[in-house]
């Protein structure tokens, strides 16, 4: 039996709010951990040990399994110079790779443009959720944004097949590219046309999908399922994105309870996604990046943790060389940066590795610079 090599696919899961890296990959071997976390601490005996120094949060058993199978790379101490502790600014920096100026073009928007410069496929990039994250935004780059995969379509409420056909015909002519109108109208026109094309294709995805994997009912799990459905339907989609909503990882207070629930759900969704692809013999076609905009203050505030800098990211896939990457930043007081973990690894190194070693693209113009690559692929 011959197998056709499929094009590599990149999936990104954004954990909004600033995930507490220190309680995700727990440095129980660093004596400063206990000192800094009198109230918001994972006890050493509960951590799912990766080495005799660090372990995963106890609610991350499904991801621990992936780690043990060598399919999970943990990137420690991720950040960028002059860390910004505003959610929005920091997320923008991750999205645009522009730490100095306010960028509007996203790194994945540029990636999609590189993959499909002639816009041959309106589904080269697909976002799942409400509103397009800036990471996927680039002028003239179509990205389908799907709130609900099951009911996606234009003018679906018009009764009568003939009338809907006629209305869609007028719609497509009205939305055809024109000149001499405002930038926002041009944007609307392009978006409308892309939606029309994309909806037709996407509506088939849930129909052809079957799986024994039972995803959770939380938002992330449902969208990870949708991502698997769209990949398995074979529309040629190369970049997919979804977001853990509501800034839920912003655990200023009540962190022990909230963080446990978040990682319980997220960790299961990540492993279910991998297992689903594996069941369909497609786990070698997809790599998943899980990131957050920043880590949190090393010292807890009694109930939670405030905005910090150095964070942790995960990369998952059949083709991943699993393991720990990047040194864990020291928690020693003299090694901290304004009370935060010092980043050891620029996030653009992760992007660079994914873009060049996985997607086969030139990373430099996409991430605005050259950054040392990791060996996880």
């Amino acid at each position: 039996m011959t197998s056709v090599k499929k094009d590599p696919v990149l999936v990104v899961l954004q954990l909004s709010g600033g995930n507490d890296a220190v309680n995700t990959v727990v440095p129980f071997g660093d004596p400063h951990y206990v000192d800094n976390r009198p109230s918001v601490r994972v006890p050493e005996e509960q951590a799912l040990k990766l080495t005799d120094f660090v372990g995963l949060n106890p609610n991350m058993a499904p991801m621990k399994r992936l780690y043990d199978e060598g399919k999970l790379a943990v990137i420690q101490g991720v950040g960028y110079p002059n860390p910004n502790r505003s959610h929005f600014r920091s997320m923008d920096i991750w999205h645009t790779c522009e730490p100095e100026t306010q960028g509007t073009e996203g790194w994945l928007g540029r990636t999609i443009r590189d993959i499909d410069p002639n816009k041959d496929n309106v589904l080269t990039g697909v976002n799942f959720g409400r509103g397009l994250p800036r990471a996927l935004a680039a002028p003239g780059v179509p990205v389908a944004s799907v709130g609900n995969l099951d009911t996606y379509g234009v003018l679906t409420g018009i009764d009568g097949e003939d009338q809907r056909e006629e209305a869609l015909d007028v719609f497509s002519r009205i939305y055809s590219p024109t000149i001499g109108r405002s930038a926002v109208v041009d944007y609307l026109s392009q978006t409308g046309m892309d939606a029309l094309k994309g909806a037709d294709i996407l509506s088939a995805a849930p129909e052809v999908y079957t799986s024994s994997v039972e995803y959770g009912s939380d938002v992330v799990a449902q969208y990870m399922k949708n991502i698997a459905q769209v990949h398995l339907a074979g529309f040629g989609t190369r970049v997919m994105y979804t977001t853990a909503p509501y800034n839920s990882f912003d655990t200023h207070a009540g962190e022990m309870q909230a963080h446990a629930k978040l990682w319980g759900e997220t960790s299961k969704a990540v492993a279910d996604f991998y297992d689903d692809l594996k069941e369909h013999d497609a786990s070698d076609e997809v790599i998943l990046l899980v990131f957050t905009e920043f880590g949190r203050r090393v010292h807890d505030n009694g109930s939670g943790t405030d905005h910090g800098s150095g964070g942790v990211a995960f990369v998952v896939g059949e083709k991943i060389n699993g393991g720990l990457y990047g040194e864990y930043p020291s928690l020693a007081p003299d090694k901290l940066l304004e009370g935060d973990l010092h980043f050891n690894n620029d996030f653009r190194s992760i992007y660079s590795t994914l873009l060049e070693n996985w997607m086969g693209l030139d990373a430099q113009p996409i991430i605005n610079g050259n950054f040392e690559k990791f060996a996880f692929i």
């Binding site: 306010q102 409400r130 397009l132 409420g157 609307l188 200023h252």
Partner: protein, 467 residues
Amino acid sequence: MAGNEIDLMAHLMRRAGFGATYQQLEGLASNGYEETVEDLLNPDGHPEVETDLLERYFVDWKELNALEVNQSYLTYLWINTKRPLQEKMTLFWHGIFCTGNSKCEHGRMIQLQLDMFRRDGMGSFQELLLGLSRDPSMVFYLDNCMSHNGAINENWGRELLELFSMGVGMDGQANYSEDDVKEAARAFTGWTITNAIPRYPYGRYDSHFIFNPYDHDEEEKTFLGETGKFNGEDIVSIIAKQPATARFIARHLYNFFVADDVQVPAWQNTPPQDPELISMLENEYFRSGFDLRSVLRVLFNSESFKNARFAKVKSPTEVVVGTMRLVQDFTSPKIGLHQLASNIRYMGQDLMNPPTVEGWHTGREWIDSGTLVERINFTADRLGDINLPGVKAIVDRLTSEGVATPDQFVRRCLDMLGGYELPEETYTQLIDHVQKAGVLNPGSKEYSERVGQMLQLIVSTQEYQFA
């Protein structure tokens, strides 16, 4: 009545309210523009929406706990209010002073915060900001109840400056330092709540603001260049008099009421697109002693505002509520309100649960292929339903006018929706569509259906996505 007066009134009511029917616009236009602005600014003479009957109909409104219930309540209020600007200002402040249900999990407490916006949203900005600082759901949302003397939590101190009053910077300069954030946080220590908000483990109960003098940092602070043993009131009064605050409010009002501007994080380095109007609003802010009603009066009566028709992409709330006011549906309680309200969320605006404390990004950022599909489908479904009173009124109006030529037919449908204008090529497409379907016979059943179909096509255009 000259058409352009009605068109201007349609513009005012879309921005200072949630839109109006053609018949309502005719009435308002005959009252006069400035008179209508005054009436909007001083709504006390108009009755509030009655909810006692509704609480019997929707029994879960009594508690106002779940997010969906609160969203239905707001949607109903906004469809039926006779005080549209007061409600629009409630939405305005909600989009800036964000509190999210994802954390609070107690809708009623957030609804009480919106009640404060409704009450004080057109009064003194200083009083409003002070009210916000003492609002239990805000104290909880930004963790000021977790900020203690000697162990500050900076969340409230930072967002108060960055997102609620001054912004990170203007004219290329930073407006405050990291030290100002910490000093503000120190001044607000002891500003806390009784009865913590999360419902675990004892269920939901109301919380109240209290000042705990034993947990307040009494020492000297230096904030924005002033030094003293500041408490939270002092911080708010220092903030209110900053030029950066006047600029921040002026730009927010501009972006919400006049024309889409760049997003807030870009304000530090992007000058206002209408510096003259911004400066008028800033001056009025100081002249009136931080009085928002006075600033709004200057805004709505300015030529810049009057000339800014269709310079804004409608927000999801404006799409849904505006559509319902136009078609005159849900003017009394009935089944389906929860489902109706959830359309606002599907279009990207989860009321009382913004994506981040920054609120919703506006303008073209409301639009992506997903949300565009949602808004087109929602609006077309309603305007195509010729049994809805507002659509029926449009049909009756066109019938009584004997509108029978394709050109006039398209033109009058555009008028009825609020004076919309289409580019030549779109207009031609619509006229062709009418011509192809045959002769128009006002009064026939088929005529009604064709009005509905034309309205559906118009609301699907790019131009109709603007307010």
